[in-house]
């Protein structure tokens, strides 16, 4: 084995460190997206025991609405975001009212097929409204990327992380501090008990649906500037977000956060040190691993469905 002279070794170290840092930044950006999507899954599962396979399509709706409001109609940023989220939440509420609530026997398998049907429906709707093309919108701000020890952190990544933090703190406050939030949590723990103390369970489920799809819309909003929005973008994002939710622990807000970032960072490191072709496998290998080893997720909820 040859000895590497000290200065060169030092330089190599530095470049590797810089590389790893860049992978981390990539991972954090993607991770934040996965986390926002995962939160949507988790919130819904928490309140309704339902997994919405159409969640990725609500992300797509958010992204494409943002293209229309911000990109085409040139509304200012904040109204565009708010309008988008409202639109997507309304779509979610309509879906809950018309499809989910009409189900007489809400068994998982029936609900899976209905939400899969909804995802196909929404994709078709997106194709009719926005066509088959992809769209892009400018970054929310035109700062040059931040340079940290030679690695670049994109300005949109900072936006994503900030919006993500605001949203999750907001949700946490909503659940813990407001009466409605507490009622929703109570409803999630036991519908019957909540009903007995006078919590309108149907309204709570509807609210959960609205909030969950709103989070999906928010995810769509923040990724619109970094990626291209098109009617068929939702499926893979939905599945990845789903893996993140499972990884962290389905039903837990902080689990979704940890799962999302972990998945994003491991994917980026996987590209760097294993193979970019196997990048998409990372999420699913992690999913299987966590299901086999600790099915409740990293933040284990008490009732993991396993015996």
């Amino acid at each position: 084995m040859e000895l590497i002279p000290w200065p060169e070794l030092h330089a190599m170290d530095q470049s590797i460190m810089q590389e790893i840092l860049q992978y981390l930044f990539s991972g954090i950006t993607n991770g934040a997206i996965y986390a926002v999507i995962a939160i949507g899954f988790s919130m819904l599962y928490n309140s309704t025991d339902l997994i919405n396979f159409a969640h990725g399509e609500f992300v797509m709706l958010g992204s494409l609405c943002m293209v229309t409001f911000f990109g085409s109609m040139h509304l200012p940023l904040v109204p565009a975001i708010i309008l988008t989220i409202i639109c997507v939440a309304i779509a979610g509420l309509v879906f809950e009212r018309l499809a989910i609530r009409s189900v007489k026997h809400p068994e998982p398998i029936v609900l899976i097929i209905i939400t899969v049907g909804a995802s196909i429906f929404l994709r078709g709707l997106g194709m009719i409204i926005w066509g088959k093309d992809a769209y892009s919108i400018p970054s929310f701000s035109s700062h040059p990327p931040l340079d940290i020890a030679g690695a670049k952190l994109l300005s949109q990544s900072i936006w994503i992380i900030v919006i993500f933090l605001v949203a999750s703190v907001g949700l946490q406050l909503f659940y813990k501090k407001t009466l409605t939030g507490k009622a929703m949590e109570a409803n999630a723990i036991s519908k019957r008990a909540a009903w007995i103390v006078g919590i309108p369970s149907k309204l709570m489920v509807m609210l959960a649906f609205g909030l969950s799809t709103a989070m999906g819309g928010l995810a769509g909003v923040i990724i619109a500037p970094i990626t291209m929005s098109s009617y068929d973008m939702g499926t893979m994002l939905g599945l990845k977000g789903f893996c993140a939710a499972m990884l962290g622990g389905l039903g837990s807000l902080w689990g979704a956060l940890i799962g999302g970032f972990l998945l994003g960072i491991l994917e980026a490191l996987g590209v760097g040190f294993v193979s970019s072709g196997l990048k998409d496998a990372t999420a699913f290998v992690l999913l299987l691993f966590i299901l086999y080893v600790r099915p409740g997720g990293i933040i284990s909820s008490a009732d993991a469905n396993r015996f």
Binding site: P108, I109, G117, F121, R123, A281, F284, L288, L291
Partner: protein, 319 residues
């Protein structure tokens, strides 16, 4: 019981007659091909129905076994010049072994967690089909799969292949019927109704679930084999997550825990895109709507759902 068996025999006799009749009277190769595709899809639905309908275990990754069957025979016949008739048992065995290994940890899960576990497995296998390009041909697909031949009979013509596929379907129906009518079938239904109760009365639920999982993988692999030698070309897209979902849809729409439901579901899902063709741009919207509406109003699938309606109407007439 005797009565029930006689009825079954009549059913299968009528069914075989219909197959023979269809095979000989339909002249147009296109319709023969559509019916052949229906047969392959029926095998897929049947296997999954044994797992979902009878054992009550969901799988969102069954296209993986479909793919293992197809890629198994493609690799063995093209790369190793093996006869397809030797590749068939090998491909099925491969799928069964994979199912066994994956089934042990996965079937411990239930509900959504089981769905997710199988989904993850299906995705990983699909990525392997795509990335292991030296063996599988990668994303571009696998070309040059040979025609099936058995002595002097070549299965290159549509009619012969039709009989081959439906022969397999009929045999599989009879095998499944036997299993369902046996002790195992009763044990399976006990698991479906309540796993804990079943194990309390002495059913080895773990072993039984695993056995059914392996069996359904074998049916999917058989379908994969037939698909590969029908189309002569396979690519990873055919065995994707969407394909798994389509299989589940066939089972659920047709009717869970019903052998004939698998046939109905497979037929509908093969023919539906043909009918929806007229909607062109609106095809996806209509397809999604149909799925949702059927599940909302007939959650037990069309077979049971239509029968319920029929029985209700009968009752009204009696009054």
């Amino acid at each position: 019981m005797n009565n029930h068996q006689t009825r079954n025999r009549i059913c299968y006799a009528v069914f075989s007659l219909l197959i023979i009749l269809a095979g000989y009277t339909i002249e147009n190769p296109y319709y023969i091909q559509v019916l052949t595709f229906i047969g392959i899809n029926t095998l897929l639905a049947l296997g999954l129905n044994m797992l979902m309908g009878y054992a009550g275990q969901i799988s969102l990754g069954h296209a993986a076994f479909f793919g293992i069957g197809a890629y198994g025979t493609a690799i063995l016949t093209v790369h190793y010049n093996l006869s397809p008739w030797l590749a068939l048992p090998a491909a099925i065995a491969a799928a069964m072994i994979v199912a066994y290994i994956v089934g042990i940890p996965t079937l411990k899960l239930s509900g959504y967690y089981l769905g997710m576990g199988t989904l993850g497995f299906g995705m990983i296998v699909n990525i392997l089909f795509r990335e292991w390009s030296s063996v599988t041909g990668g994303a571009s697909g696998f070309i040059g799969i040979p025609t099936l031949e058995l002595g002097p009979v070549s299965f290159s013509s549509g009619r012969n292949y039709f009989f081959l596929v439906w022969g397999f379907v009929l045999t599989s129906f009879i095998i499944c019927q036997r299993i369902i009518d046996s002790r195992i079938g009763r044990a399976l239904r006990a698991i479906h109704d309540g796993e804990k109760a079943a194990s309390a009365v002495g059913v080895d639920t773990r072993k039984l679930k695993l056995q059914v999982f392996v069996l359904s993988a074998a049916f999917s692999a058989l379908a994969g084999f037939l698909y590969a030698h029908l189309v002569f070309f396979i690519s990873p897209g055919t065995f994707s997550f969407i394909a798994s979902i389509r299989m589940v849809t066939m089972v659920v729409i047709g009717g869970m825990a019903s052998i004939w439901g698998s046939l109905l579901g497979a037929s509908l899902l093969t023919l539906l895109p043909e009918w929806l063709h007229a909607f062109s741009e609106f095809e996806m919207v209509v397809y999604g709507l149909i799925l949702m509406i059927v599940m909302i109003f007939l959650p037990r699938g069309l077979t049971r759902g239509l029968l319920d309606i029929y029985e209700r109407a009968n009752k009204k007439n009696d009054h």
